[in-house]
């Protein structure tokens, strides 16, 4: 009998197309997602070398990083010239190489990591890559999914494989139940708070435990999305009935006899009893609180009930980094996080731009108003999320509260399009990175869950969502 395997071991073993004596493998890629920012040089590389796309049927492109989210974006002048060049290049490359494509004008367009699962491209047991670090999102389906650079994008386009060495196995277990007001976002941020942004470096994380099993598919995507923020190559969650139910009937999911065959295979995708993990982290679900970042690294995270820390509480190179963060963020040690006033609220991104996220924010906002003078925007993760939110009446709740109701894209998560913070502006954001300048030059980002973002919009300061539930 073979030795027990982790979920990662199983998916890895099923995709090794070639293994050299030194352990360097060619890993076969089942789905390659492509967007406009990290692909033009890769397609150009193919052209220069006279190469084609090896498996156009497994390659899916959608513009998301650059696209405006304002309602008038059908007017091409809403895009800057350089953005338009990138989006036009993707249009042309998709056509030239015959890959699947969702243009800006298509209702199914959206953030690549939301479109993939929504359309049934992402399925359990697959290998999924994209020239974007948040490809980790797709791990929620029990798919091995990670970001790659542009040279690797070109490599996958040309060969449908990646040159890889296997990572180590890490288990992150969240035991028990979450308390009210605590979400998948708080889980994933708390894990990074515990392990640090390099805690997962060299590992693929499998998230497990009762609190993970209790999450919806949307919540699981939020957890896996930020695996990269913890340094891991990928995050994984074993598929279960919720996964199968989510996938069933999606446009590119298997049907009929193939569905039955797929289901039988998917049910083998779990970590065997006794399989070896190289690192284990366990958090109690009941100990996780609604969380918020105070600094400029995702590991700078604390419960909303805490105060801004002092550099003296840290060690090594982190002392200088914390001082730099506090200067950048304009914060004084000892200030209660719940007293920090904000100017802007951003709800969206591949971390929290799905329907469940919009429902959670709308539940807090119903019948309430955004505080005077604040800017608040909702950017649904895809055109279909937007349509569903309109059908459920969520859009009306946002608009009546004073939120802008936008079209789909990456938007203010990385501020490559016009959705940016002004210098010194402070934002409660449901996105994934609080790096310096991430949401705009000298902009200040506090990462929170959708409910916390909504609560902040009402009060004008970082707020414990449990006080307004």
């Amino acid at each position: 009998m073979s030795s027990p395997k982790t979920l990662y071991d199983k998916i890895w073993d099923a995709h090794v197309a070639h293994e050299a004596e030194d352990g360097t493998c060619l890993l076969y890629i089942d789905r390659h997602l492509v967007h406009e920012v990290t692909s033009p040089q890769a397609f150009e590389g193919l052209r220069m070398a006279g190469r084609g796309v090896h498996a156009p049927d497994k390659t899916i492109a959608v513009p998301d990083h650059n696209v405006p989210t304002t309602l008038d974006r059908a007017d091409a002048t809403t895009m800057t010239e350089d953005s338009r060049v990138q989006v036009n290049a993707l249009d042309a490359n998709a056509k030239e190489f015959g890959i699947h494509y969702y243009p800006v004008s298509d209702v199914r367009q959206g953030i690549v990591h939301i479109v993939g699962p929504e359309q049934g491209w992402t399925l359990p047991g697959m290998t999924v890559v994209c020239g974007d670090s948040h490809t980790a999102t797709h791990g929620a389906f029990g798919a091995l999914a990670h970001g790659i650079g542009t040279s690797e994008v070109e490599h996958v386009l040309a060969t449908q494989t990646l040159i890889q060495k296997k990572s180590l196995n890490m288990k992150v277990e969240i035991t028990g139940k979450l308390k009210p007001g605590v979400t998948a976002k708080d889980i994933t941020m708390s894990v990074i708070g515990e392990t640090g942004t390099a805690g997962g470096t060299g590992y693929v994380i499998e998230y497990c435990g009762e609190a993970i099993r209790d999450l919806s598919m949307e919540g699981r995507m939020t957890v896996c999305n930020m695996a990269i923020e913890g340094g891991a190559r990928a995050g994984l969650i074993a598929p279960d009935e919720k996964t199968f139910e989510y996938c069933m009937g999606r446009p590119h999911a298997p049907k009929g006899a193939q569905w039955e065959a797929a289901l039988a295979y998917w049910k083998t995708l779990f970590t065997d009893e006794g399989a070896h993990f190289d690192k284990v982290v366990t958090l109690k679900g009941e100990d996780i609180a609604p969380s918020v970042t105070w600094g400029t690294s995702p590991e700078d995270v604390l419960p909303i009930t805490a105060v801004v820390p002092s550099p003296s509480e840290f060690e090594g190179g982190k002392v200088e980094a914390v001082q730099r963060s506090l200067d950048y963020m304009g914060l004084e040690p000892g200030t209660p996080l719940s007293e920090i006033a904000i100017d802007t609220v951003f709800i969206g991104s591949c971390t929290n731009g799905r329907i469940e996220d919009l429902r959670a924010a709308a539940a807090i906002l119903k019948g309430k108003k955004v505080k005077d003078g604040m800017r608040a925007m909702v950017v649904p993760g895809s055109g279909l999320v937007r349509a569903q939110a309109e059908e459920e009446g969520l859009a009306d709740i946002f608009k009546e509260a004073g939120f802008e109701w936008r079209l789909a894209g990456c938007s203010m998560c990385l501020a490559m399009n016009p959705d940016q913070l002004a210098e010194g502006e402070r934002c409660a954001s449901t996105s994934n990175r609080n790096f310096e300048g991430r949401q705009g030059y000298k902009g200040r980002t506090h990462l929170v869950s959708p409910g916390m973002a909504a609560a902040a919009a009402i009060s004008g300061k970082l707020t414990d969502v449990r006080e307004v539930m």
Binding site: A20, Y28, Q41, I148, S151, G231, L414, F435
Partner: protein, 201 residues
């Protein structure tokens, strides 16, 4: 790809931990469809003020480090996004090697695709090289990839580990895609077997 074998050059000290890809090359410079020209904006928001004037305190603006070819940095260098624009900018500026206790995974891999060697050394050795780098332009370090060593300006030698395949590709400037295509028979037979085992993929 450019080869890397040995390099003797000025090392710039950047002791900050978690230097992320947004710092290395802010997103407004990702709107290019080329790989070249990004060096002008390397560390843009740390290097220039809003008017485009140099910030004199920033290490690469100091006279002794303007020609730096090596960076010595804090842990988790290159964390964040997958943007290969980060190594493209580093290379275009003229930096061919980074020395740090650890790197983010995607950035680390991206370096090797661009003729840059990301060297991992223990924190105490990075600290020693950081001190060496702080001496300025007269303190030139030498990196020898074949021997897998970094030699400080004082002659102290530090050995580093590097994956043998990555080293081979970097030393010979090999094109990964060409190498993989030599294994196309393996890829084809994998595809045939996989289409039987998992026809829905």
């Amino acid at each position: 790809m450019d080869k890397f074998d040995t390099l003797t050059g000025i090392a710039a000290p950047m002791p900050l931990v978690n230097i992320d890809t947004d710092m290395i090359i802010p997103k407004q410079f990702l709107k290019t469809i080329k790989r070249s020209g990004l060096g002008a904006n390397l560390f843009d928001e740390m290097r220039f003020d809003r008017q485009g004037n140099e910030i004199p305190d920033f290490v690469l603006n100091k006279p002794q480090y303007r020609e730096a070819e090596i960076l010595v940095a804090g842990e988790n260098f290159g964390c964040g996004s997958s943007r290969e624009h980060a190594p493209w900018a580093i290379k275009d500026f003229g930096i061919r090697a980074v020395i740090a206790p650890s790197y983010a995974d995607i950035f680390y891999n991206n370096c090797f695709k661009n003729g840059i060697i990301p060297i991992v050394l223990p924190q105490d050795q990075v600290d020693a090289l950081m001190k060496d780098a702080e001496k300025g332009a007269n303190a030139r370090m030498t990196i020898d990839l074949e021997a897998q060593t970094v030699t400080s300006s004082d002659g102290d030698v530090f050995s580093f580990e590097v994956d043998s395949f990555k080293k081979h590709c970097l030393m010979n400037g090999l094109d990964d895609i060409g190498l993989t295509m030599e294994k196309s028979a393996s890829i084809k037979s994998f595809e045939e077997a996989a289409s039987q085992a998992r026809p829905w993929v």
